[in-house]
Symmetry: C2
Subunit: 366 residues, 2 copies
Amino acid sequence: MDIINELMSYRERDIPYSRVLSSMCTVPHPVAVKAHEIFIETNLGDPGIFVGTIELEKKTIEMIGELLNNRNASGYICSGGTEANIQGIRAARNLKKVKDPNIVIPKSAHFSFEKIGDILGVEIRRAALNKDYTVSISDVDRLVDENTVALVGIAGTTELGQVDNIKELGKIAEENGVFLHVDAAFGGLVLPFLSRHIPFDFEIRGVSSITVDPHKMGMATIPAGGILFRDERFLRALEVETPYLTSKYQYTLTGTRPGTGVASTYAVLKHLGYDGMKEMVDGCIRNTRTLVEEMEVLGFEPVVEPLMNVVSFHAKNPEEIKEELYRRKWVISTIRNPKAIRMVIMPHVTEEVIGSFISDFRKIIS
Amino acid sequence: MDIINELMSYRERDIPYSRVLSSMCTVPHPVAVKAHEIFIETNLGDPGIFVGTIELEKKTIEMIGELLNNRNASGYICSGGTEANIQGIRAARNLKKVKDPNIVIPKSAHFSFEKIGDILGVEIRRAALNKDYTVSISDVDRLVDENTVALVGIAGTTELGQVDNIKELGKIAEENGVFLHVDAAFGGLVLPFLSRHIPFDFEIRGVSSITVDPHKMGMATIPAGGILFRDERFLRALEVETPYLTSKYQYTLTGTRPGTGVASTYAVLKHLGYDGMKEMVDGCIRNTRTLVEEMEVLGFEPVVEPLMNVVSFHAKNPEEIKEELYRRKWVISTIRNPKAIRMVIMPHVTEEVIGSFISDFRKIIS
């Protein structure tokens, strides 16, 4: 078919993942691709038709819930972190009905929270950061008032991979009777596999909902985001009636939604198991360390010692470095405060990729 | 791999499309599946990486724009009709900043508008319907006030496939200086191929945005919704800054988003062309007529003579019929007002499927 050749010519102009050190997405695991193909026709928006697929979603949520210390969590696989964060905040807003709702989020929160503020009509209050770029608990405390419907903590910030002190945020949330939403879109499938125990999930009593994206470190196919609530009550706050479907109510943001993300998420988690996931995460952390060592040799210091596989390095001219690398078909990103270049060491960023990257990087800075 | 067998056992419990007369989704076209597989790793949320895929999206939007009488329309391929409708209404709300915004929609509008009202904090005013179940223009006129940010017209209602008088809605929109969003999630890829010319798109001056879902009658893979705006100004009203991505701004609702919907949409439209699409639509309309004839023989009258391939039949006990059919693994749906059973004759509902359905239907009503 001619059309396939035409499509291939577009696809070939994309930069391959092996040149990408800026993305939190990665090449899906082969088992995820196989699972995806089996479920390509499915639509979870119509659960009376896709009875097997919806059952698989329940299993998948149970599996992720268990990993996040709450086997009874309620939730679903969605389009990604933005939908998950919208739904977390929307549930909070709908349950605590105030006239001018606000949420308190760290300055380090993902830019999509600006979108969420606009969409949901919720004021965004950004709390200052500590020296280690985690949120200042005292500043969060200062910003909370009677119109606050939720606090947000980040488990794996986009820029530095830092984890806020979720325990302390949980205390403030409980004291003030507000929702605590944890954005663990990235860290949710990293932290459970680290040797060091960093509390961030439902084991902390104050945590009401968690965003965790299998299409990031879960190596699932896009789209596969995840939103988990402590209990069903929160999902109920999102429901509308669905007169013509095989279900009576719908709590998802989208209507029609693919079962592929469920299948690919389940496939990877079940196929690799806890040990396989840990091995994958360990590999990324090891490669991150290698990258840091190599960059230090070249005179680039990390902004903070990376906790996971996201790292930023101080640089005087980050934009120039980024553009020069892009001309050589390497993609990294930059951060503004402090001025730095940023890299994410996903599973596709192998030792070999790092070697080749460093070799080109050396050329452009000399 | 064991996991694949396990997944298959879930998938096999789904009801196959050949037994489904309730869904506006269908078996994707084989060329859509091929296209999907080629783009399975792509993420349009990062256009500096997926430079070829984003170019393909531009082409796809241009192609759909042309079909909807505006080659210069701006827009994107999204998760589905709900996201598309959210974005249309959100742009309207953001451009006309009023304190207590409302939108006027037909009583026949899809249930997701309830969701949208909740999400965006917009009051939903439902206009009455005429005898033919299109929206009453005089009632729309009565409901518009200074806080109205948008009117909504439906081109292919979920229950009956009816098309509102978009021309008259356009006049009211222009007179009042409000946005007119057309929900053509279903009809957008049916109406352009009908012999009868039914105006519903950008040819009508008042129309500002259109929802059109390729994963419905476009036979694309899920997820492939579409939102098209008359011009770029509306997209700008949705933008947020994106500090760490390869783009500077993002107007989409989701962040990470698959390129598969773009590829599968483009593949089907280009592969079939105008004539192939018309042939497919003609086939569905023909099969709808067959179904109506067969149902009339059995004493079931259509609520309105179907304009496209959605039809509802008056029934005294629609819920019972639906449940009895479901027990025999047939899926139809019901509507409440008037009491009726509803069917959608998608491409997978072939003459053979209709024959087999009617034969079982006859048994359960006798």
